[in-house]
């Protein structure tokens, strides 16, 4: 539908161009807020607006002092370290369990498939505040209720590294399930049968035949799980303690109490991270499409 036919009327032409302008404005609305952050993070002043020096492109108006603050301030560094400690472990946990389950779910005869799927996807649907509330109550309680009475644990999970990792892994699982299941839809099961025919055991078949083919889905699911944990703040606020303070947590408290310009520097770094992730996912998607093109299904 692109392009105007040569016989278009003036009205049609006017609408065609105004429609493009409207779309342009909406794209501007989508992207501008993120992009405005980047130049502002180089502000030499502690302001959140463009100073006259910045507008006249005076080098004195720009500085990297907010970045220096981020890399030298112990609060921010601790938060960064915690984020980098929590997200990969949570991702590993959700990817390993999620991939196995997705393979199980993709087989032809699974009893209660819909119900299981609904339970596994639920962490994505349940509002975060409710997940956080539930986990806060449950993890701070050393009792595990069973039909035979309560089992008392010698520890509680609130305020521990393990508690936050488990909570984040649960939140990341739906993404792994969704992406891996989507990759498995086009998976040709005769390949695993062929491998078995050639004498490969189930483990060997999985790692040398199935895994390379579904890898794009697994990796993009993992990236989703990673970004979920890396970006998550509500649950960590409730389940974690000051020792598990993550980057989003530090940003959240910073934004709530007083806006420090360092937040803009952090935001810019995170934008760079998301651009990188976006390209990886896009590449994986293309690779997966290409692979699926040659896989008979």
């Amino acid at each position: 539908m692109s392009g105007l036919p040569p016989y278009a009327t003036t009205g049609q032409r006017a609408w065609y161009y105004s429609f493009r302008v409207i779309c342009g404005l909406i794209f501007f609305f989508l992207i501008a807020p993120i992009m405005v952050i980047i130049p502002l993070s180089f502000n030499a002043q502690d302001f959140f607006t463009f100073t006259p020096e910045m507008l006249s492109f005076d080098p004195a108006g720009y500085s990297t002092k907010h970045y220096e603050d981020f890399f030298t301030n112990s609060d921010w560094q601790l938060a960064l370290k915690n984020s980098l400690k929590i997200a990969p472990v949570a991702t590993l946990l959700s990817v390993s369990l999620g991939t196995l389950a997705a393979i199980g779910l993709s087989q032809s005869h699974v009893p209660f498939r819909r119900a299981i799927m609904a339970i596994l996807i639920s962490p994505m649907i349940v509002p975060l505040i409710i997940s956080a509330t539930g986990m806060y109550f449950f993890y701070s309680n050393p009792y595990i209720p069973t039909p035979f009475g309560k089992i008392e644990l010698p520890f509680t999970l609130t305020g521990t590294y393990l508690g936050v990792v488990l909570a984040h892994a649960a939140l990341g699982i739906p993404f792994v399930i969704i992406t891996v299941t989507a990759t498995l839809v086009g998976f040709d099961n005769s390949l695993t049968r062929a491998a078995a025919n050639m004498g490969a055991g189930p483990v060997k078949t999985f790692f040398s035949v199935q895994m390379p083919l579904i890898l794009p889905g697994v990796v993009s699911g993992g990236l989703f799980a990673f970004i979920t944990s890396f970006d998550e703040v509500v649950v960590v606020l409730f389940v974690g303690s000051a020792g598990q303070k993550t980057l989003p947590w530090q940003m959240f408290t910073g934004l709530r109490e007083q806006i420090s310009p360092t937040i803009l520097a952090v935001a810019t770094i995170l934008i760079a991270v998301s651009i990188a992730l976006l390209f990886v996912v896009e590449m994986l998607r293309r690779r997966s499409e290409r692979l699926r093109g040659i896989t008979p299904s």
Partner: protein, 505 residues
């Protein structure tokens, strides 16, 4: 009857096939099981725990067990405070609760229902050990020194025949001994019982029980516990306080749920809360209206974009898609801080408006810390969740339909409205439910840009968990919110199918 077909191993083929199928099912379940167990333990059980907390109400019965039993005989409709036996029970319960420091928790719990109870309990907790009941202690110890001997007490209380004669004393002594071990870390056999144990002994004696060492109790002037409590604060003689305790005595309550819809349990059933305490219905309605506005804004802005992306050449569309996916991948806090920076009174948007001359410098727009701020920021955050499902539905509508409609004489508008739009409705539905589900539970963005007027029900839940500590109410509000979301989720599953959720194009 034909012979059953036999498989290579000599079994009937049907049985062999069934066995293979069963094995396949088990293998699939074995692959799913670890994750399912993980999710059940780390996610579903916490949610169930929260749901349970919204009706759980053990604190009154646990803290004041005797009072609750004694209150059974009191008529809540009466205008008089309960009788002496209820106050006697309250005396023992309070004396024990003070040592466990649980009376202040109970006070703040009941304060949610009737204001003033928290301070009443705190005040009474300080004074309950100074009651005049020491006259009983002195009288018993004066009558026979064995009453002052802790070891003798322990011996009596281990003797079943004495226990049977002194039911109130035995029961009180047991809880006293438990408290001495748990709260004080002492040994009951080495501690002289406290005044309230002697009070219990006096009660048994006046009931005609045979004491281990006979004492003539008729000489002791009785101490009215009702009066003792009344001396602390005459609120104790107010039947309203007692009605509240009686109303919240059962282990389970619908009180939190009533509270979350601005109702309360009165003496004569459910009644509305006072006007100035009604906030939750307003908050639920506001959450709904704001989520609907955000959803509407997303349709309005998302539809043209999805249409453009679905109808452009693939190369251009993929390029423009990045503009949708980049915000989708960008951290929520980055986007919220962007809006916080942009929308401030001294922020970029106001600066630009002043510079253009649309707004006077001394009359800058208030775009943040109100509903406008929340709606703008959340529309931006949720817009990709509208565009992506819309796009995937529009991609499947063949462009030839529009051309066919036009060649049959339809105008552009008719062709769009009668042919294209109806086919894109499933996409609108999917996007709307998704955006609405996500919007209704949002916490971070309203908290940061919503001020007091632009917050959602989730902010109130967080407030009750971390500030007011009214966890039962937080759980009840959470349960209501969860129910709304679950109903929408079910609708979404019916319309779209949960396995059809796609991420990132």
């Amino acid at each position: 009857m034909s012979e059953p077909v036999i498989a290579a191993d000599g079994r009937p083929l049907k049985a062999s096939l069934n066995r293979a199928l069963r094995r396949q099912k088990l293998r699939a379940l074995a692959l799913i099981a670890p994750l399912l167990i993980f999710i059940l333990v780390s996610f579903v059980m916490p949610i169930a725990d929260m749901l349970f907390r919204s009706v759980q109400n053990e604190i009154v019965g646990d803290t004041l067990p005797r009072t609750v039993v004694a209150l059974d005989g009191w008529d809540a409709e009466s205008d008089d405070a309960p009788g002496e036996e209820v106050f006697a029970a309250l005396y023992t319960d309070m004396a024990l609760a003070v040592e466990y420091k649980s009376h202040t928790r109970l006070g703040s719990r009941l304060n949610y229902e009737t204001t003033g109870i928290a301070s009443l309990f705190r005040k009474s907790g300080r004074r309950v050990s100074k009651f005049d009941t020491d006259v009983y202690t002195e009288a018993f110890q004066a009558a026979d020194p064995s009453y002052a001997d802790p070891a003798q007490w322990a011996e009596w209380m281990a003797d079943d025949s004495i226990r049977a004669k002194l039911p109130v004393t035995a029961n009180t002594y047991d809880d006293w001994a438990k408290m001495i071990i748990e709260a004080e870390g002492d040994v009951p056999g080495e501690e002289e019982p406290w005044d309230f144990v002697y009070t219990a002994l006096y009660t048994d004696a006046t009931n005609g029980a045979q004491l281990p060492v006979a004492v003539d109790v008729s000489d002791i002037a009785p101490v009215s516990l009702q009066q003792q409590f009344g001396d602390i604060d005459d609120k104790w003689l107010d039947p309203n306080i007692w009605r509240t305790i009686k109303t919240y005595a059962p282990k389970y309550t619908n009180g939190y749920f009533l509270n979350s819809v601005d109702l309360m349990k009165g003496a004569s059933g459910v009644e509305a809360r006072p006007e100035n305490e009604q906030i939750y219905i307003t908050l639920f309605i506001r959450t709904m209206i704001m989520s609907l506005s955000i959803m509407g804004m997303c349709v309005l802005l998302g539809y043209p974009i999805a249409w453009l992306l679905a109808n452009l050449k693939d190369r251009t569309a993929n390029l423009l898609m990045i503009l949708v996916l980049l915000p989708f991948w960008t951290s929520l806090l980055v986007r919220t801080s962007a809006w916080k920076v942009l929308l401030q009174q001294q922020g970029v948007i106001n600066d630009v408006l002043v510079w253009i001359g649309l707004v006077a410098d001394d009359n800058r727009l208030e775009l943040i810390n109100n509903q406008t701020g929340t709606i703008i920021a959340m529309t931006h955050i949720l817009l990709p969740f509208m565009i992506l499902p819309l796009y995937s539905v529009m991609k499947t509508i063949p462009p030839s339909y529009l051309r066919a409609a036009k060649s049959l004489g339809a105008t552009d508008w008719t062709a769009f409205w009668r042919v294209y739009f109806p086919q894109s409705v499933p996409g609108i539905g999917a996007g709307c439910i998704l955006v609405f589900i996500l919007a209704i539970g949002y916490y971070i963005t309203p908290e940061l840009v919503g001020g007091t007027k632009g917050v959602f029900i989730s902010n109130r839940i967080a407030y009750h968990i971390s500030s007011s500590l009214n966890w039962g109410l937080a759980a009840a509000l959470g349960t209501i919110l969860l129910t709304i979301v679950m109903v929408l989720y079910w609708v979404y599953d019916k319309i779209v199918g949960i396995d059809n959720v796609k991420l990132g194009g």
